[in-house]
């Protein structure tokens, strides 16, 4: 599995296309935003999926820990993920 991970490049969550699954690598937010992300289930090595985006591509809907969560694109930019296929 580690070989497979190595092939994936790390991108910001805001770059992941709708419908694509991802794994969280790092979260570079701080303060309240960091805490909110943590409380709602954004932690290292957690898998999730981008579901869709709103009209102006912002905010975006993410599936994580079995529930659906909405994030602004500016918040998604703070989360580094690797795309899974």
């Amino acid at each position: 599995m580690s070989a497979k991970i190595a092939e994936c490049k790390v991108v910001q969550l805001s770059e992941v296309e709708s419908g694509k699954p991802f794994r969280i690598v790092r979260i570079s937010a701080g303060g309240e935003i960091r805490r909110r992300l943590l409380d709602i289930g954004f932690i290292k090595n957690e898998n999730g999926r981008v579901i869709r985006e709103a009209l102006l591509k912002d905010p975006i809907e993410i599936e994580i820990k079995g529930s659906k969560v909405s994030l602004r694109r500016s918040e998604a930019r703070l989360i580094d993920v690797e795309e899974l296929d």
């Binding site: 960091r34 943590l38 820990k65």
Partner: protein, 718 residues
Amino acid sequence: MNLPAHRVHRRFRRRHGLSGLPSGQKFYRIALAGNPNSGKTSVFNALTGQRQHIGNYPGVTVEKKSGIVQIDDKLVEFIDLPGTYSLSAYSLEEVVSRDFVLNEKPDVVVDVLDSSNLERHLYLLLQFQELGVPIVGALNMTDEVEAKGVKIDSEQLSSILGIPFVKTVGSTGAGIERLLEVALKVAEGQLSSQKRHLNYGKQVELAHEAIIDTLMLDESFKERYSLHWIAVKLLEKDQDAIRKIENEHRLSAIVLQAAKDWRERLEREFGEDCEVIIGEQRYAYIHGAIKETVKISRRRQVVDFTENIDRIVLNRFLGIPIFLGVMFVIYQITFKLGNPLSDGVSIVFTHLSLFLTRILPSGPLQELLTNGIINGVGGVLTFLPLVVLLFLGLSFLEDTGYLSRAAFVMDKFFHIFGLHGRSFIPFMISTGCAVPGIMSARVLANQKDRKVTILVSPLMMCGAKAPVVAMLVAAFFPDHATIIFWSIWLFGWLMAFVIALIFKQSLFRGAQTPFVMELPPYRLPTLKNVFIHMWGKSSEYIKKAGTVILAASIVVWFLLSYPKVPTRTNDVSVENIPAIEYSFGGQLGKMVEPVLRWAGFDWKIGISLIAGVAAKEVIISTLGILYGIEARLSTDQPHVDFMVKNEIGKDQNYSPLMAIALMVFIMIYIPCIATLAMVKKELGSWKWPLFQAGYTLLVAFIMAVGIYQIGSLLGLGG
């Protein structure tokens, strides 16, 4: 504050007006906790029925619901804690929840969990357990999980976490009796619920123990708080816990230094923020517990009902039109159904007032009763149908889960102005009436967003400003009435956005608040829950806002009716003056005329604008009085409108340019007294309505003067 039993009893009696508890009767307090969307409200409703008391937590505007129920020989008070995801110090709701548990020490905390999302819901439960209070877990909505073929071994979960779990279905009431039984057993000490905290792993535990050792140095501090909890919070760098140490621990410097050293050490070892390390350890622990207790017995392909709806409702292109459609329906229900009811209430009170005028001897007492009190009470009750219907709509939006979707589709646009997607709802409702509009600002979870929204919502053209603007448009722009009326309507929206942006850049500056928000699965609300929600809000409106609106409208009535025109006088000049012209308000209107002249207004308009603070539609009837129309005609509203329109249109002092300045002024200036009273009620202090009255008056005046002066310079004043 750990109250001894007899003080609890006394306070309880005082609050609930009971003459006393029969001796030997036991009194327990059970707090209800849980994530948003855990079904906590329906569990609370199932436990308390309609015996609910809605208030605020002391000193803050966070709503507190409680209810008292007699169960056998016991009296039980249920307290509904705010729904939160965590117990950090970042939000008011979270601080309120944990302070309630720490200070008031309820006998049991019942934590309601959504069984289909155990991981995130247990994350909160463990944080409550850490506060050092007995916990009972309610595995709610088990019907949904079991339908999906998932089995939760609640006994196994109990033994792992050391606390009792009961399976419930809040909406049908299944399992509620058992939940209550278990909670009471725990309260009485017959059933144990461990207060131990989870294991955070070797390194964190080491730091944790070391901090507890320093905390133990103060004997009295040990009595007040769960040291486990304080130690974890210090590791998380929780600002509120640090404050507690600074203020209450005798050796605060030693404790804080130790906490800092350990934090730095852990952060070096893990290469992560301490708060994150602890959060991740919590999740890891929960993950282990779930692995052992949740079994998927048979995999059943279920249709993802929520995703199917969202595919349409959150579609990039359909999302906004669908949302506008939903708002249109709510708006229509509130106002198209509510306005005739409001008019009905208004008519009943007018007749009551007329009846009393006939049967009572005339004099100040009769006037106070009819014009002051009865009109005031009528004013409060005319809003009631709107409030009831609005909350019918809102509770439907909220309980189904659509409200978060509304925020999702509208957020981008509102965020440009520093607002939240949900701000659309109070804005929209305020175009009908700002009183329910301001109440609906509760859909905003963030206090800053809520304050800004409340401060600007009354800038919309409401149902009371509309006839005034329509009258002015008809008088001065008969050929372009429609386009000018709708331009003024849009102007209200524009002002709300611009001023919100200014506030966000100045008064409410600060770190951006996270938008991170759950889109919960769609659920059908039960009739019972919707009804309880509506009933609670409506009775709260009458009790809390009603009294303030009543008092304020009596004050305004007094200022517009006193002093009286002297009845017997030789001074011919006062003989035919309408009473309002002679009153305090009238005198003020005349006094400020020189200033109002800059905007092209005369004293008649001055007095009408002052009277308009009572309610905006009063501007028309006051102008009517000042033109001596009401003396000639019946008080039939359309007739007054029509007559005033004719009089104003003919008045040589007024020009279309002045009319524009006046309409702009009316749109912006001081919200009506009922709105201001509502703002006070919602934001908990007179500071906010006073600020709102001040800034709107200033902006209205500057804009009206600007329009009139620049227009005159350009030669549009003719």
